[in-house]
């Protein structure tokens, strides 16, 4: 297919067609499997021998690269991920997507069209459909097997589960410290620790960190994925507040996945029964879970982190206000962080509001 070359922001031409991009590297055979969703079992991807790499990039420069391939009104996370994969395409062996959110699902088609990286989309049911989920896991395994020429024996599955479950268990200990009273670990610190998990480097996960007790107002974080590049915004929030719980891809959401039975059925059970994503229909279980968490971690406010054009959260903001019964600070972002001073002021105002709320509770 003859396609028009595109100019990237650096002025370098990249040819987006699959046959226009030469297969110049063998690194794909030892590379990464990019994936996009909490419902895709990382253990299965890892069993292929390739490294599972969660696509959660959020950076304005990458996003600008992504805008060469999708419209400006696409989710900035999706644009950033497209930008990241385009710039690092030789590192990726395959891409495994999910139907979780529409833009994320379509991202894999864009990448399949623009690169020679094989892409597969996992059919993740939005409704309560265990049979479909289980069947889709079986299919995913079939094609991972075909693709890599591997087979996943029960023994291998068991070992892989133990491997990843032990990494999650380590990180859960940090999560516990974060939600302790007083909170001993910040979300900024936890975020740095979980990056190794998301990028498949679980041996490098470090949990021996200096504890930092905090008596700042305790808040719960909710909303769109928090990308690898979000330290700056987390630090800004935690300068005055302490995030003691979250339900965000990119931070601790995956820690709710606990595989009890170390078999394939155990994987299916744990991944399907993780706390519902907001895109599930109906999504009342999501609200029930968040409400319970808010009580459990004893916080006084909520920060809703919403990316531009993130439908699944943007449409729900009003409902969150109504359902979650706590003051909410809405932070919208396109990753440009041009409004840092404004954000600081808004966070300060939110803290004032929280103190009023707390006194009224008292």
């Amino acid at each position: 297919m003859a396609l028009t070359p595109l100019e990237n922001p650096d002025g370098v031409f990249c040819t987006p067609s699959s046959d226009a991009i030469p297969n110049t590297s063998n690194s794909f055979l030892t590379g990464l499997i990019g994936y996009s969703c909490s419902y895709i079992p990382v253990e299965l991807l890892s069993l292929t021998g390739f490294k599972p790499y969660r696509l959660i990039h959020g950076d304005i420069t990458l996003s600008n690269v992504g805008e060469n391939f999708v419209r400006v009104d696409a989710c900035p996370l999706i644009k950033s991920n497209i930008g990241y994969v385009m710039q690092n395409r030789t590192n990726f062996t395959a891409l495994i997507g999910s139907t979780g959110c529409d833009m994320a699902r379509r991202m894999f088609e864009v990448l399949a069209e623009m690169t020679d990286i094989p892409a597969y989309v996992f059919n993740n049911p939005r409704t309560d459909n265990l049979q479909m989920f289980n069947n889709e896991i079986d299919q995913l395994i079939q094609y991972l097997n075909k693709f890599t020429g591997t087979t996943f024996s029960n023994e291998l599955i068991k070992n892989e589960i133990e491997h990843w479950e032990s990494a999650r268990e380590k990180l859960r200990s940090l999560k516990k410290k974060r939600q302790a009273t007083p909170s001993l670990v910040s979300t900024t610190t936890l975020h740095k620790a979980v990056i190794n998990y998301y990028q498949g480097n679980i041996e490098q996960i470090k949990i021996d960190i200096n504890e930092e007790s905090s008596y700042k107002p305790r808040v719960f974080l909710i909303g769109s994925p928090v990308p690898y590049e979000a330290s700056q915004i987390l630090e800004l929030i935690e300068n005055r507040l302490r995030i003691v719980g979250d339900f965000n891809c990119g931070i601790s959401r995956f820690l709710n996945i606990k595989i009890k039975e170390k078999t394939l059925d155990g994987i299916k059970e744990a991944y399907y029964n993780q706390p519902d994503c907001i895109f599930k229909r109906p999504n009342r279980k999501f609200y029930e879970w968040v409400n319970n968490q808010i009580k459990e971690v004893n916080c006084t406010g909520i920060i809703a982190w919403i990316l531009d054009y993130c439908d699944n959260y943007d449409f729900e903001l009003k409902r969150m206000e109504k359902t979650l019964h706590l003051p909410i600070l809405k932070l919208k972002s396109d990753f440009s962080y041009q409004n840092f001073s404004q954000l600081k002021t808004r966070i300060d105002a939110f803290i004032e509001m929280l103190s009023h709320t707390r006194s009224s509770i008292l």
Partner: protein, 493 residues
């Protein structure tokens, strides 16, 4: 003047698009008896729907003052019927019919619903045209107050309609399809549920035909394909796949998923009506196919005729009628039959609406603002192919297989559940044949599939000029948009 003379006089009119005022004058040529002849739900007392289009303008359809409509009697019937839908739904309730909201799947669930006696399906999302026809942002403003973002699909008007309880009676059942489709509407349906409506959720699976690409790419990279699978047997990848009669490749599991979902709907309808007669489903499929074949023929004739016998606006309205027959399937079929006769007669006489020189274009994604279709034709274009995200409602349903499977296989052709490449394949083919000179895409700012597909479509269509327009809010078509269309015209002329 007797009926036949008046009708003959009317039929002898040269085909053209006329204004509201001209339609009012022309309406005088129609005899009262003929007006009384056409009625919905076959009700003599209140089912009459023929009136001068100006009547609807007075009732609030203000854009009609700007629109030009086809001057055929068939088109008059069509507009009278379409603009009458809200009243019809309330009348349905009045006479004891069950009103079923079918949301999100655009084309298949109504076939199930219509198989039950006295059940009338309708699509709340089709209310997205109302803000534009009425030149009013009221519904969109209400939707914003209820939580929808400003940058989202105009189908958010449906949420406001549920809230205002004014555009349709409270449905006896709401079947909402979600899954591998657009996020905007899935979120809107969730907010409808939050208003207190009980919703029966149905899963739309993804059409995974990207798989061969996955496999082929793996092979190209030297990866061993066809290795032993879990059960230890070698397997040909194509064994897992099937193809619809319209050429869409899909994994066989998708068919099973859909069959299960359709059976769930059937059970729910059985619970609601107490009726369980599969023969009726087979009959409804046949009836649906009659309509679909007829619409296919109208489209084919219109697209292939030397001179366009129908305007794009009327043609879009006919296409969307395939979804559910605007809440009276039998009457709608009769109207479409009359439309078909009109098209044939015009072609036989070598006459039409536009000039022979009109430049053929394809239209991708329907416009919420009907006025755009008028404008594009005014600039000298002619729509000869469409991809209005409702492919599933246009294809024939197989009659020689088990009916639930037939429905599943028909839905698998859906526009938004698979790849963009498949979506535009037909258009690409016509471009290659030289039958399309340009492509117009109408987007909605912030709508998930528009944001992700448009650039891809532009690339996939190769060398043919593509114009992508963001449909503005009601009454928002500016000179700038007109200038862009004009410039596009100059490029493809």
């Amino acid at each position: 003047m007797n009926i036949s003379r008046k009708r003959t006089l009317h039929k002898s009119l040269k085909p053209k698009k006329i204004s509201l005022h001209e339609w009012s004058q022309q309406f005088r040529l129609i005899d009262d008896a003929l007006i009384r002849k056409y009625k919905y739900y076959n009700n003599d007392e209140w089912g009459i729907y023929l009136s001068p289009p100006a009547t609807f303008s007075v009732y609030g359809t203000r854009e009609l003052k700007r629109l030009k409509l086809d001057n055929s009697f068939a088109a008059l019937r069509m507009w009278g019927f379409v603009f009458n839908e809200t009243e019809r739904l309330f009348r349905a309730r009045q006479i004891g019919k069950r009103v079923i909201a079918t949301m999100g799947d655009l084309g298949t669930v109504p076939v199930l619903v219509m198989s039950f006696p006295d059940c009338v399906p309708f699509y709340p999302e089709c209310i997205w045209w109302i803000p534009f026809f009425r030149e009013s942002t009221e519904l969109l403003d209400v939707a914003s107050k209820l939580g929808t973002p400003e940058a989202a699909c105009f189908s958010r008007a449906a949420l406001a309609a549920f809230y205002k309880k004014a555009y349709f009676p409270k449905p006896d059942l709401i079947v909402a399809s979600t899954g591998a489709s657009c996020d905007d509407y899935s979120c809107i349906m969730q907010l409808v549920e939050d208003l207190g409506y009980e919703i029966f959720w149905v899963e739309i699976p993804y059409r995974r035909s990207l798989l061969p690409i996955f496999i082929n790419k793996g092979e190209q990279r030297g990866i061993k394909i066809g290795a032993k699978v879990v059960n230890g047997e070698k397997e040909n990848v194509t064994d897992d796949y099937d193809q619809t009669i319209h050429g869409y490749l899909y994994h066989k599991d998708m068919e099973h998923y859909l069959i299960n979902e359709y059976k769930r709907i059937w059970q729910r309808m059985f619970k609601l009506t107490g009726v369980n007669n599969l023969h009726r489903l087979e009959e409804t499929i046949k009836k649906t196919n009659h309509l679909r074949k007829l619409v296919y023929e109208i489209k084919r004739l219109t697209f292939e005729a030397k001179i366009a016998p129908l305007p794009a606006l009327e043609l879009m309205t006919i296409e969307f009628g395939n979804l559910y027959g605007y809440a009276d399937f039998d009457e709608w079929f009769d109207i479409v039959e009359m439309m078909y006769q009109t098209v044939k007669q015009r072609i036989d006489k070598g006459v039409g609406i536009l000039t022979e020189k009109a430049i053929p274009i394809a239209w991708i994604t329907p416009t919420a603002d009907p006025y755009l279709l008028n404008i594009v034709e005014n600039f000298g274009c002619r729509v000869v192919e469409t991809e209005y995200v409702i492919n599933q409602a246009l294809v024939e349903i197989e009659e020689n297989i088990e009916p639930f499977r037939a429905l599943a296989r028909s839905f698998i052709n859906a526009s938004l559940i698979g790849s963009t490449g498949e979506r535009v394949k037909r258009i690409k083919g016509k471009i290659t044949e030289g039958r399309i000179k340009g492509v117009l895409i109408t987007n909605m700012l912030g709508a998930s599939h528009c944001a992700m597909e448009t650039r891809l479509i532009e690339r996939m269509l190769g060398n043919v000029p593509v114009l992508a327009i963001d449909v503005p809010a009601p009454f928002g078509i500016t000179e700038q948009i007109k200038t862009r269309i004009e410039a596009f015209m100059e490029t493809i002329r």
